[in-house]
Symmetry: C2
Subunit: 132 residues, 2 copies
């Protein structure tokens, strides 16, 4: 269950607004990004906030054979909207970090943030103490 | 988009094995945990690995109005199986950290791990530099 988790906030996204409002467009982007990273989609769930007349962001998760991608949009924040991203890949049968980087790069290239705050977390690396 | 993210690995889970193999049981647990934390479920996606004769773990995500819960089981790891958990709540309209702690506590109480490796990450807290 060792793995790598990218947590990122994308600020001032200059992408088409539909990506921040339409869960179907956001879902299609996530699928394409996972394909770009050769990650295996096994289930998906997306949701729109607000109404068609007054959209208020979209949210969703793509469950992967390698773990998951979760995404939440915040069209009202900053100059042109923000996005929070989680991309967690386990490195069980192979090291999937490069695949995760490719998927992340595709998301960033499409969402076009002017600023990224990224934190990387190593998963499944146990502290020294573990009861036997 | 400020928020709080709990990343946890639960080791040697002494819960009923069905929770580690059956995505419906895992999904029900996640729903109950979110309800215990007064978190609002808006979409869900779960998946089983392996076959009914040879189950190999379950995985899924619950998309919340407050962000998401993602869970992956590893029944083959350790003495009695492991689980990775992500529970991310935004603190947009209110501070949801206590709600997240209640949901997390419910998951831990049910999965009964003998050892927990937990990391907490503050989300949406920007570094000093931000282009204007």
């Amino acid at each position: 269950m060792k793995g790598h988790h990218i947590l990122a906030e994308l600020h001032d996204c200059d992408c088409p607004r539909t990506l921040l409002h339409d869960p179907h467009a956001l879902q299609a982007l996530c699928r394409t990004a996972c394909n770009a990273g050769a990650l295996t989609v096994v289930a998906e769930a997306f949701h729109a906030f607000g109404t068609s007349d007054a959209p208020a962001g979209a949210t969703g998760a793509v469950v992967l054979a390698e773990s998951h991608l979760a995404i939440h949009t915040w069209p009202e924040i900053g100059r042109s909207g923000a996005v929070t991203l989680d991309l967690y890949v386990c490195n069980f049968s192979r090291d999937n970090r490069e695949n995760a980087e490719r998927a992340f790069a595709h998301l960033v290239a499409t969402l076009q943030p002017r600023h990224i705050h990224r934190q990387d977390v190593a998963r499944g690396v146990l502290p020294a103490f573990h009861p036997t």
